[in-house]
């Protein structure tokens, strides 16, 4: 692999700095190490970050990031509170502010309004719009924090765990519980104990609803703690009376039938084993899935559709029979302890240690992390009883992490492309959900992954034809000032704008690409010509007609329907054009 010249330093100076450092035995030089940790433990460098990391020292900077509470972050927290107030609200508060339209409709029905007026319809449409907007604050805050937080590793871990324990905003009323999920279940434990994280997720309304455990109840053939469920459910008012905490919100019999749980639901139990803990080859059977599902019956969110807050264990829904989970017998007649025991069993399981260690190594090191590193990280997991901070420390202080093979080996996810571009430009955090919309356009809508396996952690999955195109168009839009808070002109300021073209290119390559640009790339930035194509006699004529690629822009539907995406093609000149090219370049797609 070509070794790029770093930050415009000459070879001689990099050799000097290599030997001058105590961490010189690592394969990467000191600049490279600083760039590397900013790309892996953070969402890319902001202007001046490389110098700041070097001043602090690479190892000390890592230690600081591993202990985020020691890093002051007041400005960011104020920004979030001001710009995205609803991330601090509970689900019931959000329900009160923007009730889901079906609830509004049902209430209208109960009040005897069988004929809906035009005003009612308008009200319903407004309700639908506001209910959708509930997601806006949550996803906007995710991007803003990732751009602006000083606790970068914490945000990287939030991204990692929210993907590992993915939930989908479009399912049922999950959107009302997203803020609660991120705030209560995920954030407190991203560098804490895995068992705490798993427990928080298992009791979170968002996950209980997303993977249906909320409606998983003992099969009618099984004994429950509150008598036989079948009888209770069919008896009028039985289930309804005990579960719905707000009598005025009790659903009609029709809808009740539609929503009454039908028996055991294995969805969560299966993903708990396959995705969240042991891994697909982790050594469990279909019978284990069923037994885990039985143990978790009664873990639910009563009244979720009416906006109730929080987890409850409902004994009358719980399968009270004997169970055997992964070879361990759980005695009958118990309640919530069944589920708690299951969580303890799976989070202490050696397959879980391996599965989590490997996935973290894939995130931090490479798509194919060295087996020895995974082994050591798994051993740390086991030794520390799932202390995530220690597992991450094992990985990010390893020789493998600071190896030549790992350097720039990862392809950025769309989220990483957007956030790292904004950070590279020194952008202020966007206080609207628009940047989150850009992440969605690049193919990774936040809280928008339907299936429980989450977004891919590896590169190839992100690199399809349409995806690259969207990345390039995002880069051009960002350079043109179409992304709130980001401005190529502000980034460049007067000092860069006054430089010669050649020097501007040097600055752009150094600051936006951390010095990683081939001589061909520099040449193209300078001249617009493609030297390699010309050398082999390629027909660059087709690509040399300015404007031809943009002819298609006028193609939109004849009625001039809204153009999706990043708006009409921007006219980029001067430094802004160089910024657009750099952020859209192949080099910028790596970290």
């Amino acid at each position: 692999m070509r070794r790029p010249s770093l930050l415009g330093l000459t070879l001689a100076t990099s050799v000097v700095s290599l030997t001058a450092l105590p961490i010189a035995q690592r394969e990467l030089g000191s600049d490279e190490q600083a760039i590397h940790i900013l790309n892996r433990l953070a969402f890319g460098p902001r202007p001046g970050d490389v110098e700041r990391v070097k001043a602090v020292g690479v190892d000390r900077w890592i230690e600081r990031q591993l202990d985020p509470r020691g890093i002051r972050n007041d400005a960011q927290e104020r920004l979030i509170a001001d710009a995205f107030p609803s991330v601090h609200l509970t689900a019931s508060q959000l329900f009160a502010e923007a009730p889901p339209p079906n609830l509004v409709r049902r209430q209208a029905r109960r009040q005897g309004d069988t004929v809906l007026t035009r005003t009612d319809s308008m009200m319903l449409r407004t309700a639908a719009r506001e209910a959708r907007a509930v997601v806006g604050d949550v996803i906007g805050a995710r991007v803003a924090r990732s751009v602006a937080s000083e606790r970068q590793l914490e945000e990287v871990m939030v991204d990692f765990w929210l993907n590992h324990f993915t939930v989908f905003a479009g399912k049922s009323v999950v959107r009302y519980y997203l803020a609660d999920y991120e705030r209560e279940a995920i954030r407190p434990s991203v560098l804490g104990r895995f068992c705490d994280l798993l427990g928080g997720v298992a009791k979170s309304p968002a996950m209980l609803l997303y993977l249906d455990n909320a409606q998983s109840v003992a099969d009618s053939t099984r004994p429950t703690l509150g008598g036989r469920f079948g009888r209770a459910a069919r008896g009028r008012g039985g289930l309804r009376g005990r579960i719905a905490r707000r009598p005025q919100a009790a659903p009609r019999l029709d809808s009740l039938r539609a929503h009454v749980p039908r028996g055991l639901n294995e969805n969560y139990a299966r993903e708990l084993l396959e995705l969240h803990t042991l891994g697909v080859d982790g050594g469990y059977t279909q019978q284990d899935v069923i037994e885990v599902a039985r143990a978790l019956t009664g873990w639910t969110v009563p009244g979720a559709r009416q906006g109730a807050d929080g987890f409850r264990f409902v004994p009358m829904l719980h399968d009270a029979g004997d169970k055997t989970v992964l070879g361990r017998r759980l005695a009958g007649g118990r309640g919530i302890e069944d589920g708690e025991d299951v969580l303890d069993i799976v989070c202490e399981h050696p397959s879980t240690a391996r599965h989590i260690a490997r996935k973290l190594a894939v995130r931090f090191v490479s798509d194919t992390p060295p087996a020895q590193l995974v082994d050591r990280a798994a051993a740390t997991f086991t030794r520390t009883h799932g202390d995530i901070r220690e597992v991450v420390r094992t990985i990010v202080t390893s020789d493998e992490f600071f190896s030549r093979a790992a350097y720039r080996a990862k392809v950025k996810s769309p989220f990483e492309v957007v956030v790292s571009a904004l950070r590279a430009l020194g952008a202020s955090a966007d206080t609207t959900p628009r940047t989150a919309g850009a992440v969605a356009l690049l193919g990774q809508p936040i809280y928008g992954h339907q299936a429980p396996n989450g977004w891919p952690e590896t590169g190839e999955a992100w690199l399809n034809t349409g995806a690259i195109l969207n990345r390039i168009n995002f880069a051009l839009a960002a350079a043109a000032g179409r992304i709130p808070g980001a401005s190529a002109r502000a980034w460049a300021g007067d000092s860069i704008a006054r430089l010669s073209r050649a020097m501007q290119i040097d600055v752009v390559v150094q600051r936006l690409l951390s010095g990683h640009a081939s001589s061909a790339t520099r040449e193209i930035l300078a001249s617009g010509r493609n030297p390699q194509l010309e050398r082999i006699g390629g027909d660059s004529s087709e690509t040399q007609q300015p404007g031809t690629d943009t002819d298609m822009i006028g193609l939109g539907p004849p009625n001039g329907a809204r153009r999706a995406g990043f708006g009409p093609p921007p006219k980029l000149t001067g430094v802004a054009e160089l910024v657009g090219l750099a952020l859209g370049s192949p080099e910028f797609q790596r970290r």
Binding site: M1, A451, G538, G565, L581, P586
Partner: protein
């Protein structure tokens, strides 16, 4: 395309061999040079009515007394000659909603088959879950990571197959949507775009040219490879010259987003860019309130739906011989109307299959009846056909897909259960 760039692309692909990159990627990169020569084959257009379209008012069982009893204010009246506010009789028992009039000639021509009481065997009434199952092709199984259309692409586009001559086009599978739909998610390459006009590098001046140069120069890695493919694809689409596109035979697409997206699908088909699977979706079917009858909310949605499809058929003209159009919706709606002049979530739904090889001109699917004891859970149209048996028949007979056990895992796709759609 000049010989020079082909040589370059090829050498780039060879460079990949030495780097040990994945064969699937290598294959894609290596064949980029053959793109314009893709074989012209059959095309499947899948249309998803998101929100659960009301099957009973689309394909009206006007021969059922119970239908009129359960829907006192929203039922579509029995057919009446010369009255365009009544259902359009198909066979003396079923009729089309009057807004579906543009589809009537296709039914009379025998190329349109409405299918009743079809859908997912899952009992869920959640839009999310039911759409998820219809797109993953695995009812009641959440963990399926990919969509069934992608599994079709992956099982048919094996490397043995493409190593011969059939190059894979970047536009083999296109979703006319801003997000990749679940049905096309998976390992096989697919493209999602909100419009053809969006599929270009959006920059004035020579920024686009220079970006292309950046991706054509330098290391032969994944990122560069994908970028080169993308620029090939943009060019391929431009060669097809879609901006000069004029629909043929006076085809009149509605100006709705759905209508425009079908128009662009016709453009892609006629451009011979190697399209095999196209997908579009259309919302607005969740008619809980004031659904209307022969006129009103649902009637407006259905008119747009039917006009767009009819225009597509007119526009494609003789090309329809290669094309099959299939509509789906996640479930049907309750047999009885609710207290707001609408319908709540139900169970079995309806599909339309349209194409010259379709054995149409009759309503397919076993009719379960609307008497209370015939209804699913006493309230919804019961299911008599699994949607996978329709999908499997279409995949097998229209696309030549063979590995049905891989495309629909866990579904015993007995040919005997097929409805004889084709």
């Amino acid at each position: 395309m000049g010989a020079g760039r082909r040589a370059f692309v090829k050498s780039g692909a060879l460079a990949l061999v030495t780097m040990g990159l994945s064969p699937s990627f290598l294959r894609r990169a290596a064949f980029a040079m053959d793109l314009p020569k893709t074989k012209r084959g059959n095309v499947l257009i899948c249309l998803f009515q998101r929100g659960a379209a009301d099957a009973l008012n689309m394909i009206v069982p006007h021969g059922e007394q119970a239908y009129y009893a359960m829907r006192p204010t929203i039922a579509i009246p029995r057919p009446q000659r010369g009255n365009d506010q009544t259902s359009i009789d198909l066979d003396g028992f079923f009729g089309l909603h009057p807004s579906l009039a543009p589809l009537e000639p296709l039914y009379r021509d025998g190329i349109l088959a409405p299918i009743h009481a079809v859908g997912s065997p899952s009992a869920t009434r959640s839009h999310f879950d039911a759409q998820d199952y219809m797109e993953s092709g695995t009812p009641d199984l959440k963990s399926t990571p990919d969509g069934w259309l992608n599994r079709y692409l992956a099982t048919k586009g094996t490397c043995e197959a493409c190593a011969s001559s059939a190059a894979e086009s970047p536009f083999r599978a296109v979703a006319m949507t801003s997000q990749m739909p679940r049905i096309l998610e998976g390992p096989a390459p697919t493209v999602a775009m909100a419009s053809l006009g969006e599929f270009t590098v959006r920059a004035d001046g020579d920024a686009a040219t220079r970006l292309e140069a950046l991706y054509r120069t330098g290391e032969a890695d994944l990122v560069h490879g994908a970028g080169r493919e993308m620029f090939e694809a943009v060019k391929l689409l431009k060669t097809a010259n879609p901006q000069r596109y004029q629909p043929e035979s006076g085809a009149d697409y509605p100006r709705s987003q759905f209508g425009q997206r079908l128009r662009e699908i016709a453009q892609l088909i006629k451009s011979d860019v190697g399209l095999e699977i196209a997908f579009a979706d259309v919302g607005g079917w969740d008619t809980h309130v004031n659904q209307g009858g022969a006129t009103g909310q649902l009637a407006v949605r259905l008119r747009d739906f039917a006009q767009a499809i009819a225009a597509l058929v007119t526009d494609l003209g003789p090309r329809m011989s290669d094309v099959l159009i299939m509509s789906m919706t996640e479930f049907g709606r309750m047999a009885s109307q609710n207290g707001n002049g609408g319908t709540d979530h139900g169970h079995a739904g309806a599909m339309f299959v349209l194409g010259s090889s379709v054995k149409g001109g009759k309503v397919l699917g076993k009719w379960p009846g609307l008497q209370r004891e015939q209804l699913f859970e006493g309230r919804d149209l019961a299911l008599t056909s699994d949607f996978r048996s329709v999908f499997a028949e279409v995949v097998s007979k229209h696309l030549g897909g063979e590995k049905l056990d891989k495309i629909f895992p866990g579904f015993a796709a007995h040919r005997l259960d097929w409805l004889g759609v084709l």
